[in-house]
């Protein structure tokens, strides 16, 4: 990307904008300004990484940056909730009692996953998000995280172990019907 080149950033937005938006919404939701903020931050950071050279059409790297900024946003939310005294092991259930069981359970698990990802070291969360949520290939994800494919496997194993431990410690806010 020529420094600040409009044409290049237009091309990247056209090619990857929708996919990055989807990733950001998956990780932070779309009920506030966080998603748009994370989206913008990801592109600004991506462009800054490529100044002085040509922008590579690297959707995987963009997704890695977007995931990191989104997880930062989740962390900020968690801190704010803790400050406000709302958070009890990471879950807010306002209104959930009126949701059907399956939907309520999915909502709780989804929120738990977001917060559990926020507690992982960044390379581990990136490995999980890129391979398990975005379903990138091992090679693409490893290149985006700048590790070997073997090391990606290590990161992914550690991420899974930590996430499963988090789910193990989790107690649902109510009993869901099987």
């Amino acid at each position: 990307m020529r420094s600040g080149s409009a044409d290049d950033i237009d091309a990247v937005l056209r090619e990857h904008g929708q996919a990055v938006w989807r990733l950001v919404v998956r990780l932070v939701g779309n009920d506030g300004p966080d998603a748009a903020d994370c989206f913008q931050q990801a592109f600004v950071e991506f462009a800054s990484l490529h100044r002085g050279g040509g922008i590579r059409q690297s959707g995987a790297l963009l997704k890695r940056i977007a995931a990191a900024r989104s997880i930062d946003a989740v962390r900020r939310r968690m801190r704010e909730r803790r400050r406000a005294g709302e958070l009890d092991v990471g879950l807010i259930s306002t209104g959930r009692e009126f949701e059907p069981d399956a939907q309520a359970e999915a909502s709780e698990f989804l929120e738990l996953l977001r917060e559990a990802l926020a507690e992982l070291p960044e390379p581990q969360s990136a490995a999980f998000v890129l391979t398990q949520i975005e379903e990138l290939s091992g090679g693409e994800a490893a290149a985006a995280i700048d590790v070997t494919v073997n090391h990606l496997g290590v990161l992914l194993h550690r991420a899974r172990t930590a996430l499963q431990a988090r789910f193990e410690a989790y107690k649902p806010t109510r009993e869901f019907k099987p």
Partner: protein, 408 residues
């Protein structure tokens, strides 16, 4: 934990993963791409300016650190002795560690050179001259005196900061394994005109020479500190490092002072009225270069084909945004390195805001700005109105820049 329980937890993780994948994000919101393009462009402009600002910051770090060190709960006699010791030095070399713009700082009297990320900024405070050399693009920028170069007078700043308060902090172990005593202080540093920059500074000193070896500076409200490490005094520095001559092969970008046309008269200035979301005067967002030239004439210089500079009007029109090569951004008083040789923007907004208006006048005209974004450095003061596509920069409490972006 039983195998069944482990499997159950794995199921939950799998279900959560599927739930996340199943989220329907919908289409990219209308306008977000436009705002993102504008944000990328603004960031690129800030980066072009950043090397110069980092040089200022680095010089300030050094001066602040010295001040903090010398005032650490010692008597004025002790300070005077130590100040004299630093003033007796002639040169300084340090590594600047900064996640955004790190590099090497060299100081020789009133002359400073900062190298980092393929660029070098060389300044001479006594001559009030500054050049920036970008070795990646072989571009050179002559930066006129706008109040920044005075901040590059390392030893001068140090003398001005003698009153900074300080307290002892835990020592720092250097590469030789020696414990270097530390002190910290807070000060308001004058950076340009009457503008100040409030910072916390920490400094650690060599246990033998008593001269600073490491310093940290953190602008208030910023989480990231700029760090000077491996500080050495009185190192031999080649005079050629501070030569302000543009090297052969470099192309000078922007105008020189003698190339700058006269500022517009009152009648022409009155036509330069920025209307948020619409344009400036007869120039409207979405116009092509050809349409702009038909109204304003040929740009006085052009950068990267899309930055049309009318330096005599203090105006930069940027062909960026939803439509390629169409006007997407208007910048009154651009501050990138190539655009500093210019007149002040003589126009105004349709709500009467002009360069020099107060923050209160801006609030009265446009209301309370959007919440401050966390990634904006604390010393850069902006009022953003994203829904209007308007961003207003302040220096010393007065409007110093107006940026309008296309919003449709």
């Amino acid at each position: 934990m039983s195998i069944n329980q482990e499997s159950h937890d794995g199921d939950r993780l799998a279900r959560a993963t599927l739930s996340m994948q199943a989220i329907d994000a919908g289409d990219l919101p209308v306008g977000l791409s436009v705002r993102t393009r504008a944000a990328v462009t603004r960031a690129a402009q800030r980066r072009r300016r950043a090397v110069g600002m980092r040089l200022v910051a680095a010089a300030v770090v050094g001066a602040l650190g010295l001040a903090a060190f010398f005032t650490q709960s010692h008597s004025s006699v002790a300070f005077a002795e130590l100040a004299a010791r630093v003033n007796a030095t002639r040169t300084l070399k340090a590594v600047v560690v900064d996640p955004r713009e790190g590099g090497t700082l060299l100081v020789s009297g009133t002359r400073t050179r900062f190298e980092g990320n393929g660029a070098a900024v060389i300044a001479d405070a006594s001559q009030r001259q500054e050049v920036m050399l970008d070795s990646r693009t072989l571009s050179a920028y002559r930066i006129p005196q706008r109040g920044l170069s005075q901040a590059l007078d390392f030893y001068g700043i140090f003398r001005d900061l003698a009153d900074a308060a300080s307290t002892p902090i835990p020592g720092y172990t250097d590469k030789l394994g020696r414990l270097c005593p530390g002190a910290q202080g807070r000060a308001d540093v004058k950076i340009a005109g009457n503008a100040t920059w409030s910072v916390d500074a920490k400094v650690w000193s060599d246990p033998v020479t008593k001269l600073p070896t490491r310093m940290e500076i953190r602008p208030l409200q910023e989480s990231t500190a700029i760090v000077l490490e491996e500080i050495e005094f009185d190192v031999p520095l080649d005079e050629a490092l501070f030569d302000l001559t543009i090297p052969p092969g470099y192309q000078v970008v922007g105008l020189s002072a003698d190339q700058l046309k006269a500022a517009p008269g009152a009648e022409e200035a009155a036509k330069l009225t920025i209307t948020a979301g619409v344009g400036i005067g007869d120039i409207k967002f979405g116009m092509s270069r050809q349409q702009i030239v038909a109204i304003l004439g040929e740009p006085e210089f052009t950068l990267h084909e899309v930055y049309l500079n009318y330096a005599s009007k203090g105006l930069q029109l940027v062909l960026v945004g939803r439509e390629p090569n169409k006007l997407g951004m208007i910048i009154a008083n651009p501050y990138d390195a190539a655009s500093l040789t210019r007149h002040e923007f003589p126009g105004q907004t349709d709500k009467g805001i002009q360069i020099g208006s107060s923050e209160q006048e801006v609030t009265d005209a446009y209301g309370q700005p959007d919440p401050r974004r966390p990634n904006i450095p604390a010393h850069l003061h902006y009022a953003a109105y994203e829904n209007l596509g308007l961003s207003i920069g302040f220096l010393d409490g007065k409007v110093s820049q107006i940026t309008a972006s296309r919003t449709d």
